[in-house]
Amino acid sequence: MESLRKDTKGQWIALSGLVLSLIIIGLAALANQAAMAGYHSSNAALEFPKENIRELNLHTRDNAKIIKDLSFEINKTSNESIPDIYTQLFKNYSSQIEKLHAIHGETVDVSLVSINSTNGTYGINDIDIIFVNITYNDGRTHYESKPEVIEVGA
């Protein structure tokens, strides 16, 4: 043992051993950070209601056109004006979509703002743009589109 204590050679080798160990420990810490980032990004992707918001938006756009066509059908046998029929049908749609979201704990508000016509009359080819307000909230994510501009022209 006496000879070991007196031997002061090879300090560079001792130092490089220490440096190598520290590098490996640092890399291990970094690798664990990456793992945590992977966990959190997966969790965020699952929790963020991207598809729900997209679906609400697209479905509302589709419905604006369906309601327009249905309004003209109803108008053929009704005394009510097309904007009145459109407003009633849209209200009915809003009420249904709001209830269907409510069962999942999501608050949705879809309301008609205005029906726009190029020349002030409401013929089948005149109504071209519908303005709608869309709000979505699931407690974590809040989305608003005010107004959502929907082209419904032929």
Partner: protein, 178 residues
């Protein structure tokens, strides 16, 4: 006998043990399998389920399809064709044309499909496809379709809607892997 550099030998041994232990610790750590962990698979499955419904939803009307196409009807037409009096009871499903499309788009995935809609102010939920009991890692994708009397009568469904009525139906796909 040459007894020099004994400390070097011990250092070498210690460094080797340290490196081996560190590498073992990293490879054995459960956190290291993140790209294959359960949550990453859930994210993929949820996207696949959502995409499957979207693809079925944008299929052109059945008249434009050839009879050899794997998906013959779009989502609205599938739901419109449903007989409202027939709820699925395992293993009998009541919405075959939707099942054809989903089984083509989601191979090796099990799924249940429910329909939810508002009837006389109340929510009604019906099962139309049952493949089993969802596992704990099941994901849910939702899509909405709107039915009118026209779309229902085109597909010979039994929704019994008035001419001035529209019905929003939520198609809820619960998917899981075993």
């Amino acid at each position: 006998m040459n007894d020099k550099a004994q400390l070097h030998t011990l250092e070498g041994l210690a460094a080797a043990v340290l490196m081996t232990m560190t590498v073992l610790m990293i490879t054995n750590s459960t956190m290291m399998v993140t790209p294959q962990n359960e949550m990453a698979i859930d994210v993929q499955l949820k996207q696949m389920a959502s995409d499957a419904l979207t693809v079925i939803d944008i299929v052109p009307k059945s008249s434009a399809q050839s009879n050899n196409a794997p998906i013959l009807h779009n989502l609205t037409a599938c739901v419109a064709s449903w007989d409202v009096t027939e709820e699925a009871t395992y293993p009998v499903n009541t919405l075959d044309n939707l099942e054809d499309g989903l089984s083509y788009l989601l191979p090796n995935v099990l799924y249940n499909v429910d329909l939810a809609y508002v009837e006389n102010g109340n929510i009604t939920q019906k099962k139309v496809i049952i493949k089993g009991s969802p596992g704990k890692s099941a994901v849910v994708a939702r899509h909405f379709v709107t039915l009118t009397n026209q779309t229902v009568s085109d597909m010979n469904g039994t929704w019994n809607l008035d001419d001035d009525e529209l019905r929003v139906v939520e198609v809820r796909l619960t998917a899981w892997k075993v």
